[in-house]
Symmetry: C2
Subunit: 429 residues, 2 copies
């Protein structure tokens, strides 16, 4: 089955917003095993929208339109789609009631315009919108499916996941995915390590996605039902876990790297403090992005200047002068000082040259040292990152999280991280 | 003139990446006064790309294709476009030399594939790529223009700005824009305040863009030459500045809010320290996003837990118990403590409920207090923000920057911020 996406909205044509809806829908459709050959963006204009929709119906099995379901005169996606499908609109009472409830909960009055949103094409499946006033609409005709979704991502995403995905998966067969998330292994190395699996894959399929310092393998199985699909997934996930060993930080799609690190700290009853120079708070911000982190996160210090490194962390002036702020020795002293003043069991320190200025031949832009102190055992790692200031800082934060995870695991297992990985690789040679 | 965008790439169809190129190109084309009615995404497939390109040429004056200019067999945008335009490809020696130089500078050898990138359609304008090996291509035929750009944003963006924008502006007339950036005034209020200007606008035009806690007015003039365009812009920019008064933080498109705040601190020889609870380092990270901030930024503290607020900042245990960590009084004490320990002239403190948990009826998710201490004069402001954890934290950071700017300006001018704005509004009634 093929799918085609049509995003409706002048703000996309003007470049005021980036089309994240299309990326979301495309990824989910790929998971469902639907082939997407075309995506379009068109404005709230009857003639052009109608032409684009007709072309899409002509060449694709499923057409998903997003946007243009609002209450104003401008919004005409539903009206145009109904016209193209040859259907009349009628007042859908449950949607009307839903709109009334939506406003009542907010102590607001709906305007006359809002009832336009409760009008739906005859014979359509109406999909409840739990986060807004525009219901979703599914029309089936001549073996084609036309699906209308509201434009705001906070309405579109939950509606698609809750109602549209099961609808599209049905009839077909069940599609079930699991994601194995890996950190501390480069993209090309990770792909090489599973090339044999990918080359011979049929069902389940394995798709690698490289994110900042991480590789995610999405394993997707097709089967008659969920139980069968899970049965197909199990050995593949197990194989990936055995190949990547303790580099696998989760098999739960919703768990981020920072969440995994926070969980690891909590499981070992550890608290953490951060000291940052070039990342200036980004590492702390990412850790504190995890809700309920207050039992784990002790305190953070941003010591961008040399003076702050001395005054707050007690790094010696002589050391700063001799070795420079961006050095293994200073990173180590920062992690030592942070543990001392915060009394946290784990202290992470970051110092580096994020650019664009400040680089020298000896210490170029992108040179970063990260030190991790777990109960007095300090490991310092040197990095040379590529990219602009923002990219270097972002990569530094991810690398710090990975190093923290590694140091905590090593502290408790007393096994060097990645050692088994190399052994496994040797064994397969 | 109308323009149409075609993005070529399987990774877009699979949703692996978000189409930021389309947003960038759409925004720039809007600036140039080109009307964009259609955008498409299509894969590296000859038949489908050819059909989409033909449809685009049929209905638009300028067609911009991006992506698919790489060295591999898969990349066929140039080959397909040349075929559609009825042109043969030939080896373009300057491009070949450019590729040789590109590799030489990196101490690398080009592979045979790379020479494919130096092949260009006969009669085309070849556009040098300063950041990669794929040159851009412009073909003109029957009053239509077909423009091919490389897909990587770090190649596409500079090439478009340096070579394609002047090309598209030419013949036409010069297009010149200036952006007036405003903070601390809500979007709808800001738009109401200039409604009369927008209603009667012809040349220059005024386009408002709402960003997180900011409104940017892009003023765009069309004229015979740059000098004439600037002359047209001047009175409109002046009028906007007079209406929004000290809420205008810059008229330079590249200056961010954090840069404006850092510049204001530096101009007044002030240093700053930050203390953060719910934002956990995000405010510091945004300030430190400004290169060369080390003279201004003194130190930062992340006091997420009550204990950290007590130990680091000296907030009294009794006060935390009586008023709660998210309170006006605690915010004030945090800003007081931060100035004391850091010896910075300006100290900003943030405390709030970012959610999803932790909200109560009295202190709901989204309640945030920000305190700003300028040389001992402390202002505390209460906010109720909407949205999820990430959105609340982001809005808090922007609001803190705005409050900092306001407090510093008030301290030096001794005029209440926004007072003149209200007077101006009254005067216009």
């Amino acid at each position: 089955m093929t799918v085609e996406l049509i995003s409706v909205g002048t703000e996309l044509l003007l470049g005021n917003i980036v089309n994240t809806n299309a990326a979301f829908l495309a990824e989910k459709c790929a998971d469902l095993g639907l082939a997407c050959y075309y995506q379009s963006v068109v404005g709230d204009n009857e003639e052009r929208l109608s032409a684009v929709l007709k072309a899409a119906i002509g060449r694709s099995d499923v057409v998903i339109l997003s946007g243009g379901l609002g209450p104003t005169e401008d919004d005409l996606t539903k009206e145009v789609a109904a016209k193209v499908a040859g259907r009349e609109l009628y007042m859908h009472e449950p949607s009307k009631k839903q709109i009334e409830d939506f406003f009542r909960r907010r102590n607001m009055e709906p305007t006359g315009n809002n009832w336009k949103q409760a009008m739906v094409p005859k014979g359509a499946i109406v999909v409840e919108n739990e986060n807004g006033t525009a219901p979703g609409v599914i029309m089936e005709a001549d073996g084609k499916k036309i699906i209308l979704l509201p434009g705001p991502p906070n309405e579109l995403v939950p509606m698609f996941e809750k109602s549209i995905m099961p609808y599209l998966a049905e009839g077909n067969s069940t599609i079930y995915s699991q994601t194995v998330k890996i950190c501390g292994v480069g993209e090309s190395r990770a792909e090489t390590m599973v090339k044999d699996l990918i080359d011979k894959q049929t069902n389940p399929t394995i798709a690698p996605y490289a994110k900042n310092c991480e590789v995610h393998f999405r394993v997707t199985a097709k089967a008659e039902n969920e139980k069968e699909a899970k049965k197909l997934l199990k050995p593949v996930v197990k194989e990936l876990k055995s190949r990547f060993e303790n580099h696998v930080y989760t098999t739960d799609v919703d768990t981020t790297l920072e969440k995994a690190v926070v969980d690891l700290l909590a499981a070992n009853k550890l608290t953490v403090s951060t000291v940052e120079s070039c990342t200036g708070g980004m590492l702390a911000a990412r850790i504190i992005n995890v809700p309920g982190v207050s039992d784990v996160y002790k305190s953070g210090y941003i010591t961008y200047s040399n003076k702050a490194k001395r005054k707050i962390l007690g790094v010696k002036k002589g050391l700063l002068e001799k070795k420079g702020a961006v050095s293994e020795e200073v990173a180590r002293e920062m992690a030592k000082g942070a543990a001392l003043i915060s009394k946290a069991e784990v202290a992470v320190a970051v110092t580096g040259v994020a650019g664009p200025g400040g680089g020298t031949e000896e210490k170029p832009v992108g040179l970063v040292y990260i030190a991790c102190n777990v109960c007095g055992k300090i490991k310092v790692k040197k990095y040379n990152f590529d990219g602009n200031r923002a990219k270097i800082r972002e990569t530094t934060v991810s690398s710090a999280l990975i190093l923290m995870r590694q140091c905590i695991l090593e502290y408790y297992s007393e096994v060097a991280f990645g050692k088994k990985l190399d052994e496994n690789a040797d064994r397969r040679k």
